[in-house]
Symmetry: C2
Subunit: 413 residues, 2 copies
């Protein structure tokens, strides 16, 4: 297996791969803002309005000219004539003169002549139509000025921003009900193998059901892409080539899970190389599981060859796919894994130079304020080992295993 | 404001509320397994098959009877006659006798007579049709036995389990292509306020655009529910009652954002009380922002009254909605917020007994291996304060503020 002579660590392999992704061309579409949760903005957003659009009260109380409250206190209240109430959603229909106040609710628009609001707690009704104010307030107190948050012409959001609930809210506040977003990347997924059948078939002796098409589709969906599966391909050059070409042309990224034997892996690499240049960049990564991973580019489009073993494919997809899809989705913020730090309950063996990923179960107890995780070992490394796992613990390439109660980073699955 | 005389802390208020949610009836639907990412299983899954269904090789090599390798070593190899190759996806079409071996690939089915596989690395071709084996192996080495992972009748998944990529993979491995899942909870969302207009309208003086319908919908969507918005309701008793009744009947949970003034909050509480018993359970929580929150139940169905201020509504939705929707979705695992620990860069003031939630920005630098976050203060507490925030830092009720470089938990938004 000459391809494994010089194995790169995952970080180095992925960096090498991502270099080629820099110049990728992203397509843009328009969509209603309210449908854009978890999409990525493709254009800067500049406000056409001042927000707030008018000076508003931030409390329930009485709008006044602040200078009229000067010197007032608990023992020496100031008196104001109440001349009306500000209706919500309407400007004042009166003018406020010196010594006058009007009732105002939170969010209400201040009359032009008022510059502040006395909270209702600091007032008391006295004679009919009059209040006593027990506190001197300053100009601007309990109000938010027109344009204080956002001014017309301010850049509010940058192209490449992930749209969350808060971004949707802000866009609505600005009256921006349609936006330019990047198209979701389409990810073609092909399972291969003479022994592989679809899950609804009953396996004959020697056959196994296709897992990878579905678990990888789910990972792609979770990461915000559109998964597109293709029929299972036999380990046969011409058939593999036809299907890979078709899926390669129809998608922004192609994932092929190859059989585990060396000859089948070589066949997959050969066919990938024929799709375009530069072809295979990385063939084999110093990681377990997932060593026989292929990273390739053909004419500007990325291709990933994953091992056929479902856990290996799952681990490498989590390790690589997030970063790649982040770029293909147009996100500018640095990609970050969803992870947490924890202590392992038992020793975990590893080999220096190789990065290991071990499924772990979260325990209900903590130790020294740290979460505890228990590594899960299944003999065959089948997908069932992941069912009770909260995530995958990473054992860095430069260590030769972990002792019990060492700290590990757990990547949530 | 008598309702605020005895304010509960958020944890106590939510626990009180969740008590009533225990007996909620969840509806079940059938769906294709491949469409069930992020859904919740409504029935235990028992395997009808042994997995693997046949004894398989876990390496590329030669299937043998292990006792034939007894005593073999680098200096004293054992010789085997090669009688064929196991094709992927097929059983052997020959019988293996003593002293015989056959080529087998990873995942290939062992011949009945073999009990182990010698890795190709420990063999060498000698005369034509023969190999030398340089290592003694034990029974079961490099194979995974029929039924070793899962046996027919094993319970593989429990009702109430969240379906992730790994669960989809496991179900496919078992040939279970359709499953029973809980229906997604439908969450009715109503914005109220005389001053509130739809985002596509241009506000007159005193009016503001509806933010809450959209930011809350996005939060519901993120938490795995179906948001359903209704037309904006004016602060008028009959109109409010009609719309609340309609939305209450059409959904599994109703969220109403009320205006911020005391009279409008009281109106909302009154109308909620008329929807059924026991009515309002909590009216006001000791939290900032979000104090005027209402938690209610009417005839077994939950209702939440949120403050009209978009940041207050946003914070309380993050604080409460996750836990409620977790129950309405049928999940059995304890709900856990998506959060991380960090240090604040500056002092944050708070009041003992009150829980504070402060938007924070993640900085690029770390201190002592901890992430650093910078609190964001906006005067008006408008939605824009959340745009640069990674999350909300919680300041526990029992502290009177945080000094710079104190540890906080940040809840990701």
């Amino acid at each position: 297996m000459p391809e494994f002579l010089e194995l790169l660590t995952p970080d180095v392999a992925i960096d090498k791969f991502l270099q080629y992704l820099k110049d990728v061309n992203l397509k843009v579409e328009k969509n209603k803002t309210q449908n854009c949760l978890n999409r990525v903005l493709a254009k800067n957003i500049v406000s056409k309005d001042d927000i707030p659009a008018f000076t508003r009260s931030t409390v329930d109380g009485f709008a006044v000219r602040s200078k009229d409250t000067f010197g007032s206190s608990d023992v020496m209240p100031a008196f104001f004539e109440i001349i009306g109430e500000i209706k919500m959603g309407k400007p004042a229909n009166f003018q406020l003169s010196t010594g006058q106040a009007c009732l105002i609710h939170t969010g209400g628009m201040l009359p032009d002549e008022a510059d502040s609001v006395v909270m209702v707690e600091h007032t008391q009704y006295s004679n009919s139509g009059e209040i006593e104010v027990y506190k001197a307030i300053s100009s601007g107190e309990n109000v938010i000025l027109k344009g204080e948050d956002i001014q017309q012409g301010d850049q509010v959001l940058t192209s490449g921003t992930l749209i969350r609930a808060s971004e949707i809210g802000a866009l609505m506040a600005l009256g921006i009900t349609e936006i330019d977003i990047y198209e979701l990347p389409r990810i073609g997924i092909i399972s291969t193998g003479d022994e592989v059948i679809t899950p609804d078939e009953f396996p004959d002796l020697g056959q196994v059901r296709d897992i990878n098409s579905y678990s990888l589709s789910a990972i792609v969906e979770k990461l915000g892409g559109i998964p597109r599966t293709y029929p299972i391909v036999k380990d046969e050059r011409e058939q593999l080539m036809d299907m890979l070409k078709k899926a390669f042309n129809e998608n922004d990224l192609l994932i092929v899970t190859a059989g585990s034997s060396a000859s089948v892996r070589d066949l997959t690499a050969d066919v990938i190389n024929e799709l375009g240049t530069p072809g295979v960049l990385v063939h084999g990564i110093n990681v377990r599981p997932g060593k026989p991973t292929i990273l390739a580019f053909a004419n500007g489009k990325p291709i990933i060859g994953l091992p056929g073993n479902p856990v290996s494919a799952f681990v490498i997809a989590h390790l690589i796919l997030g970063k790649i899809m982040h770029v293909l989705r147009g996100e500018i913020k640095q990609f970050s894994y969803q992870s947490f730090k924890a202590l392992t309950t038992i020793n975990v063996a590893s080999v220096a130079g190789r990065e290991d990923w071990v499924p772990v179960k979260l325990l209900d107890i903590e130790k020294d304020g740290m979460k505890l995780v228990e590594p899960i070992f299944y003999k065959s490394n089948l997908i069932f080992s992941l069912l009770t796992a909260i995530g995958l613990a990473r054992i860095e390439p430069d260590v030769t295993g972990l002792e019990a109660f060492s700290e590990v980073e757990v990547f949530i699955i």
